[in-house]
Amino acid sequence: MDRTFAVAIGGAAGQGVATPGDIFAKIFVRRGLHVNAYNAYQSIIRGGHTFLTIRAGVEEVKCFGDRIDLLIPLNQDSMDRHSGLMKSGSAVVYNSDTIKPGALHDGVQPCPLPVNQLSKVSRNKVAQNTLALAASLKMIGVGFEPLAEILTEQFMRKGAKVVTENLDIARIGYEYAATNFQAFASPLSMTDLQYAVLSGNIALAMGGAAAGVRFYCAYPMSPSTGVLHWMAAHARDAGIMVRQVEDEIGVINMAIGAAHAGVRAMCATSGGGFALMTEGLGMSAMMETPVVVIDVQRAGPSTGVPTKTEQGDLWQMLGAGFGDFPRLIAAPTDILDCFKLVPEMHNLADRFQCPGIILSDLLLSEGRSSVDPKKLTFDVEINRGEMITSAGPNNAETVYNRYQITKSGISPRAIPGVPGHTHTASTDEHDENGVLISDEFTNPVRRRAMMEKRQRKVAGIEAAVQPPLLNGTSGAAVTLIGWGSTDGVIREAVEILNEEGISTNHLQIRWLVPLNGEAIVNILKSSKYSIIVENNYSGQFARYLRSETSYVPNGYIRKYDGEPFMPHHIVDAVKEQLAGTTQLSVPKHEIMV
């Protein structure tokens, strides 16, 4: 039984969907409930249609779910788009002065609010939102106090008069709902816990702060800009230098410059910006200067759909930069994992002196979820690898070879400023001492030795990363395979399938390079019907897995309409495939957002 409750707020951009959304989310987490929120929006500043879903529950909420319990349409358009999808037991709260109720199914409670009559304060532009918020909270069974607390925090900056005015409106809405609307039958319970609520972008930025990132730079690009915003807002408190750069080419080069001088450096972008960074990625590999780049995927190609999600950049990451070189690529599986993966990636990039790529997407980066604050620990392992930051007593006597040939392929890295270690790091092929072997001293023997030195790091990288683990018991009728952000929705689909008698287990891939392909194939050996689930058209992960391991699954579920999977999309597709109808399911997104 699904013990969650989902609120959705729809309106035009600029109509104030975000504020009541934030208030709902904060009230839920302060009542000890977990939340997961997803905002479907468009690349427009004013107008269009924005649809925010916030789902709460006592247990961890893995995704934004299939069902809306309470709809708050802020305009007629939102009412018309969504009212028909509301199911029995749900309710629709709306301003009856401006919005006509849609054709509601039986058992859906219409909750009209005569806003002008109730607010009496026509100057208050957000009266409609505040009334609807308060009425909804009454129906969900949340006391008035948590709302009063948050409204006070929200309007404090505007003075006591504004606080009182909004509290009055809220109380009227709350009381109006008590007498006129029917409360939900099984209201949300409450726990004594308190959670933090954050977006994936904030988690990525905070992960950087925890990792000891001291230099962050970026060029604004949706949906990665949230990382820049958090970094910029907290730069001075956290002691991080944040720079907005002229383009993404400048971004990665500046980050590599800072990293070369000894700091931990990071940058974030989306697919288009990453395309500009690819030459820089090769420089990081050739100079053996670590850098961590976050790619927040959006629907492509080209400018694509800037505000919609996709897992379409995998092959770009695999092939970015010409020539062969070691790299690291991982895709966080949820918002907490965004936080945890960043320090891990920095440690590996530092140890192996190569570029590290974190592959997030709009769903994770702009989605929000509750996280136990104890899990946001900044006391993470920091391993900077083999670095020389000061001259030892004897160092000045010996010759320093920056690119010394070693068994591990890792050569101790002296940072500029250390006496006795001057050298030139070059993007041209170079010998152990940094001298170019690309022109006058071209030498196939040395070239081969240097190539093999760098590539030897791959063995160390492979040993440093744990293979994925199977969720559920082996021998299930169905095995779902996903990567990165789809973990939550697949887990929920697995629960539903198991409840319905279709035994299902699940393998989620987090590390893409190194892949641990042998371990994956070993796990999948015992699967009866395996399906790769991914948010793209061509099955990028399926093709990658096949190229690395020759593994071919039984079926595929793919979605490339810009919206993320909902649990029923996967459940229905599994059933369709077990019935033998198809091996490739492309679920239809029913909600028009």
Binding site: A238, M241, L376, F378, G417, H423, T424, L436
Partner: protein, 298 residues
């Protein structure tokens, strides 16, 4: 037993790189390299406290020929890399070297924005008005009408004016040198290194192999030192712009412009006010700061 060594007076030989330059005999870049080495020695800056950063091209091979820390980066990207280096360790002396194609062509965007930011570094462009390493194509400073392999019927485009561009983009030290005038060039390099902010020196550095128009002789006939005009005031931006637009039978070289009233980027950035270079700072964030970062999310 510990021996305390007196700090040795450095010589240009201390800045000799691991290998000798592989430039064509007679290349203007030799004069730039030796001038830079002599000035660093004269200013007694220790090699490990200097980082020489370049892009790609004949002149961009310079970091391999000088004993300092060095980065031989991507074509056009040296200034972006150098900005990162300077922000991470503002105690380093950062020298960026490269050519006209590297700096004003493929790297044009970074050139403008690094000047605007007034990053404290010395940028020496060895300007030979040709692409040399790719065997002779038109560059952003090739004169109109010049015939090259890429424009065999003559260049129909107007060249860029690096001095005027630097003036409008906000560089705070702007000069032009000639590699065959080493004493004059050394004086400019010294001033550029001493200047706190973005120092730009465009150096005529003739390509003896591919540019047969703008030769040593061609420049010798034309260059005229601004320093010889006692009435010239390099703090006057408008006057500097007038001189920057002079090109023809007479071409001014010398210090066009300098202003010292603006903070450089690292001076303007409050997180560098105290605590030394970022590269040497503690990686952990203080626990009371961490508590606030998390409390905001509750």
């Amino acid at each position: 037993m510990t021996t305390v060594l007196e700090p040795q007076k450095l010589t240009a030989a201390d800045f000799k790189g691991k290998v000798d330059p592989d430039w064509c005999a007679g290349c203007g870049d030799f004069g730039v390299l030796s001038s830079l080495q002599k000035v660093l020695a004269e200013m007694n800056i220790q090699p490990h406290n200097v980082i020489t950063i370049s892009g790609i091209g004949c002149s961009s091979n310079l970091p391999g020929f000088i004993n300092t820390y060095g980065m031989h980066t991507l074509h056009g990207r040296a200034l972006a890399v150098a900005t990162g280096v300077k922000m991470a360790n503002h105690d380093l002396h950062v020298v960026v070297t490269g050519g006209d194609g590297d700096g004003f062509g493929i790297g044009g965007n970074h050139f403008i924005h690094t000047m605007r930011r007034n990053v404290d570094l010395l940028y020496i462009a060895m300007d030979n008005q040709i692409y040399g390493l790719t065997t002779g194509q038109t560059s952003p400073t090739s004169l109109k009408g010049m015939r090259t392999k890429s424009m065999p019927y003559g260049n129909v485009e107007e060249p860029i004016n690096p001095i005027a561009l630097a003036l409008t983009a906000g560089a705070t030290f702007i000069a032009r040198g000639f590699s065959a005038e080493p004493k004059h060039l050394m004086d400019l390099i010294k001033q550029g290194l001493e200047h706190k902010g973005f120092s730009f020196i465009d150096v005529f550095s003739p390509c003896v192999t591919y540019n047969h128009d703008n030769t040593y002789a061609w420049f010798r006939e034309r260059v005229k030192k601004l320093e010889d005009d006692s009435s010239y005031d390099p703090s006057d931006w408008h006057e500097a712009m007038k001189r920057a637009l002079i090109w023809g039978d007479e071409i001014p070289i010398g210090k066009f412009f300098e202003r010292t009233d603006l903070p450089s980027l690292h001076e303007a950035e409050p997180i560098l006010d105290a605590g030394g270079p970022l590269a040497y700072r503690e990686l952990r964030i203080a626990s009371h700061v961490v508590q606030n970062l998390i409390a905001e999310l509750m």
